[in-house]
């Protein structure tokens, strides 16, 4: 009997060990797996248990958190939601996150190991950190000017600080209030449905996620290629270009909206935006030099993150001469995001140096200490200093005595280029009105701001030879608001606080 009781006790011990080993399996080995199972609601509950970190523009937070009293406690709120939606994106308990809310999610939700003061200890205790804040490079005044300039028309604005690559404005219109998607329940689902079904696509971030044919605004790139390749050495010399210009290898002739383009100098052709001259220039420069120049400005780059991913701007690398000619005036397959065209203007205004655009100035932890900071990073030298100077002459002539006079700002030197892109089958679609520009403060040699504006449904654009009518005033207002602000120091701003 004694022996049997002992054996029973041993059996009990074996069962206990089996339980313990299995508990280790469930609670330690498989814990990570279950912690990432999307069906595990604890992830969402923990995530929304505390207020989310803030996204700031110009030192003021544009986001907030509201205790809903439900299981997913804190829902996101937005101040000026439609204005900043192309920057913040949404943080929805139902539909996840987008844009900065998505790329900076770990920091904003407090899961990022960057926030932990002792990362290893944090792994063990699994304490959730208090969320950090994301300080954007957005200049609220420029953002507002751009948004109000578009006034609800379909379009987008991207503005950069050419010297650093800081993104000063990123506007898409029509916009939406991301706060409508914050919570859970039928109201959110209905809003999501409505926003997705809206033909105006309010949730599309047109400034970085939509590409448009750049039209004549692309002539800056063509001129740069012509100057860099040596095809043009004297801006004022007449070019050997007919009007109309028959595209090489085809029977199709290209015409101009304006007059005086036959054999016009590059200077005049740029000023009044002659298609024939630049189409021929592009064809003369050739496919590979054109593509190389476009890429030097940032085209065909799929890796650009600001940190939200930027759509690839396209310049084809295998084309027939007639296609190269069309591409050189921003037609055919050439497409660009507004941010890309702002980068073109910025590189020109910055003496040929292209800086990597970025949207996040720094991220701070809950106490305000800087966790990470983005600094200016040189991307390419897009064109030589000389070429940049010549391109500036061309662009400044557009504003002083060309198609872009609407962009002029008294006291400042403004360079620009208009564009009207035909699109749609047989060019039936309403043309896109473009304006890209930069502005130098009085006395400065380098531009302080570069802007690209695209207006999709520019009513007057078809008759207008350029985007000078509808897009240029918006660019002017954005540039003026940046120039009016005190110059921004490139180093750390406001200390660690």
């Amino acid at each position: 009997m004694i022996r049997c009781i002992r054996r029973c006790a041993v059996l009990g011990l074996v069962l206990l060990l089996a339980l313990a080993v299995n508990a280790v399996r469930v609670m330690v080995v498989d814990a990570g797996k279950s912690a990432h199972d999307p069906a595990n609601r604890r992830i969402a509950i923990a995530r929304y248990q505390h207020p989310r970190g803030g996204i700031l523009a110009g030192g003021r937070t544009v986001t907030g958190s509201q205790d809903t009293g439900s299981q997913l406690a804190y829902a996101r709120t937005y101040r000026d939601g439609p204005l900043y939606a192309p920057v913040t994106g949404f943080a929805s308990q139902t539909y996840g996150t987008s844009l900065l809310e998505g790329t900076e999610d770990g920091l904003l939700s407090g899961t990022s190991s960057r926030l932990a003061s002792v990362p290893l200890w944090n792994e063990i205790t699994r304490n959730r950190q208090r969320p950090g804040d994301v300080h954007t490079t957005i200049d609220p005044a420029a953002q507002k000017a751009a948004y109000e300039g578009l006034a609800g028309r379909r379009g987008a604005v991207a503005a950069l600080d050419p010297a650093t690559g800081r993104i000063l404005a990123l506007v898409s219109s029509p916009s939406y209030d991301p706060g409508l998607l914050s919570g859970t329940g039928p109201a959110v689902t209905a809003q999501w449905q409505r926003l997705n079904d809206d033909p105006a696509q309010p949730m599309l971030d047109r400034a970085i996620r939509q590409t448009y044919p750049p039209g004549s605004a692309f002539k800056v790139v063509t001129a740069a290629a012509a100057l860099e390749s040596g095809a043009v050495t004297d801006l004022l010399a007449p070019t050997d270009s007919p009007d109309p210009y028959r595209l090489p290898g085809t029977t199709w002739s290209l015409t101009n909206e304006g007059r005086g383009c036959a054999d016009a100098s590059v200077y005049d052709a740029f000023r009044v935006s002659c298609n024939t001259v630049f189409a021929k220039l592009g064809a003369d420069v050739g496919q590979s030099a054109m593509a190389r120049q476009a890429e030097a400005f940032g085209f065909n780059d799929t890796r650009l993150r600001i940190p939200p991913g930027v759509a690839k701007s396209n310049f084809d690398t295998a084309m027939s001469p007639d296609q190269v000619a069309l591409s050189s005036i921003g037609q055919f397959d050439t497409t660009a995001t507004p941010l890309q065209m702002a980068m073109v203007a910025a590189a020109v205004g910055n003496g040929g140096e292209l800086m990597t655009p970025y949207l996040v100035d720094r991220v701070t932890n809950h106490g305000g200490a800087v966790v990470a900071r983005t600094g200016p990073v040189r991307m390419h030298r897009a064109v030589s200093e000389d070429t940049a100077e010549q391109l500036q002459q061309l662009m400044e002539a557009v504003v002083s005595d060309g198609t872009g006079t609407n962009a002029a700002i008294p006291g400042a030197v403004v360079g620009g280029k208009t564009g009207t892109a035909q699109h749609g089958v047989g060019n039936k679609g309403t043309p896109y009105a473009w304006f890209i520009s930069y502005a130098k403060p009085p006395g400065a040699s380098r531009a302080a701001v570069a802007v690209a504006v695209v207006v999709e449904d520019a009513e007057a654009a078809r008759a207008d030879i350029s985007g000078g009518g509808s897009a240029a005033p918006i660019a002017r207002d954005v540039m003026r608001s940046v120039l009016a602000a005190p110059p921004h120091p490139y180093g750390p701003r406001g200390g660690a606080g």
């Binding site: 009990g12 339980l19 609670m27 797996k33 069906a39």
Partner: protein, 464 residues
């Protein structure tokens, strides 16, 4: 040190008469009292912790709760001190701690409105009743051997109790409840103790016949079948009880009775063959039941594929939720009151109560709980080893086995080690009958351990 060498005489042995008298055997009542006080303090601390974590303040009735629990615990201790002075000093503190912690858990789960009406006050009433019965048993039962006399009365009562729910409506698919006057009782719980007493009494009375008479099966001595006359009554009662439970769909308890029967038969006869037969029978029974009963079949499916419903797009099932809870607990847990046991939903306070300490106290807390149960079981087994009467031995082993099997089946079930079977975690789960029964089990263990550790009466000393 110089002259004395190899031939030195050995040191004189101490005279036998001079051997000091053995010191009086320590009764360890002081240890029991301090551990019991510690158990009460831990429970009150847990109660306060839940309040702090969920409401930011110690619950207003924490002092009252602590005083009540302390009063009950001290009364139980005094009863043990008075009537079972040699009892194992660990049994009562462990029971107080488990019961106190169980109340904390249920109080904590009451804070989740989605988990139904409050259960802690009722559980407190039942705990009080349980401890009162504990005191009564310890005071009234002088010698455990008395129980053997009433084993047939007991088993008749047990069968009657188990049959009663057939006349009451099923609750959640199982007909194991009797409801009256707003109370619901699970008579199968009480039947456990009565059946253990009966098995112990019958097997101890007939063990010689069971072990040494009868036919050999296949000529194997280890599989010698006892004669029908000896085996018949116990087999009949066991079959009847398991049959009743199957009728009532209480598979957990039928499994428990089966295991109890096999273990006691093995201990009584010393024949390993019984264990083999038991395992074979249970395997056959498990296969038969799981293929015939859709309810059981789905439990087996759940066990094999706990996350199948997620893949099917139906969201996590209860077992998956339980595993999520354990996973969320990880090593150190989220802290009392800071997990999300409400996600498990139905049965969180009963069958799945272990998921809450798993999540909120982590692997550390779960292992601590299991260690407490293991100690309780081990001390029961130890009493069985130390006792001299076969009935007492079998009773101690039987009671310990009831606890061990319940803990294993539930813990294994909610952690996906074995298929889930509805049973109450001793002292922790919501359920009055269970708490009361477990207090009676502890009272009986106190009684048998007192007999086991009591020093033999001193022989009358010769005085010159």
């Amino acid at each position: 040190m110089s002259a004395t060498s190899a031939d030195a005489p050995p040191p004189p042995a101490p005279p036998a008469a001079a051997r000091p008298a053995a010191p009086p055997r320590s009764r360890r009542r002081g240890v029991e009292l301090s551990l019991t006080v510690a158990a009460v303090l831990v429970s009150v601390y847990g109660y306060a912790e839940v309040g702090l974590a969920t409401r930011g303040a110690v619950p207003g009735d924490a002092a009252g709760y602590g005083a009540g629990l302390a009063l009950l615990a001290v009364l139980a201790h005094l009863a043990v001190r008075a009537r079972a002075p040699y009892a194992d000093p660990l049994l009562l503190p462990i029971a107080v701690l488990l019961n106190g912690f169980g109340l904390v858990l249920i109080y904590r789960l009451d804070l989740e409105p989605s988990l139904g009406p409050r259960a802690a006050p009722t559980q407190l009433v039942w705990s009080t009743l349980g401890i009162t019965l504990f005191v009564l048993v310890v005071l009234a039962l002088d010698d455990h051997r008395v129980l053997a006399r009433y084993s047939y009365v007991g088993v008749t009562a047990a069968l009657a109790l188990m049959a009663a729910p057939i006349f009451f409506p099923a609750v959640n698919g199982a007909k194991i409840w009797i409801r009256f006057a707003g109370f619901s009782i699970q008579p199968g719980e009480f039947a456990k103790v009565l059946l253990a007493v009966f098995f112990a009494a019958y097997l101890s009375a007939n063990r010689a016949a069971l072990a040494y008479t009868g036919r050999q099966v296949f000529g194997l001595r280890r599989l010698q079948l006892p004669t029908g006359r000896v085996l018949g009554p116990v087999l009949a009662i066991w079959l009847l009880s398991v049959g009743l439970l199957v009728l009532e769909r209480d598979l957990g308890t039928s499994l428990l009775f089966f295991g109890l029967f096999v273990v006691l038969l093995y201990v009584a006869t010393g024949r390993t063959g019984w264990v083999a037969v038991g395992l074979l029978l249970s395997a056959a029974g498990a296969v038969a039941v799981s293929s015939l009963e859709p309810h059981v079949h789905s439990r087996v499916e759940d066990w094999l594929h706990p996350f199948a419903s997620i893949d099917a797009g139906l969201g996590p099932g209860q077992l998956a939720q339980s595993l999520f809870a354990f996973g969320n607990g990880a090593v150190l847990g989220t802290g009392l009151g800071q997990g999300h046991p409400e996600l498990i939903g139905f049965a969180t306070k009963s069958d799945f109560i272990l998921a809450t300490p798993g999540e909120e106290l982590g692997l550390a807390g779960l292992c601590a709980l299991l260690a407490l149960y293991a100690l309780l079981v081990a001390r029961g087994m130890q009493a069985g080893l130390a006792l001299r009467d076969p009935f007492g031995r079998l009773l101690a082993v039987g009671l310990a086995t009831i606890l061990a099997l319940q803990v294993f089946v539930i813990t294994g079930g909610v952690t996906d080690l074995i298929p889930l079977t509805g049973m109450a975690m001793p002292f922790l789960a919501q359920g009055g009958s269970s708490v009361v029964t477990n207090w009676i089990i502890v009272a009986l263990l106190i009684r048998v351990s007192d007999s086991a550790r009591r020093p033999p009466p001193e022989p009358p000393e010769d005085t010159p």
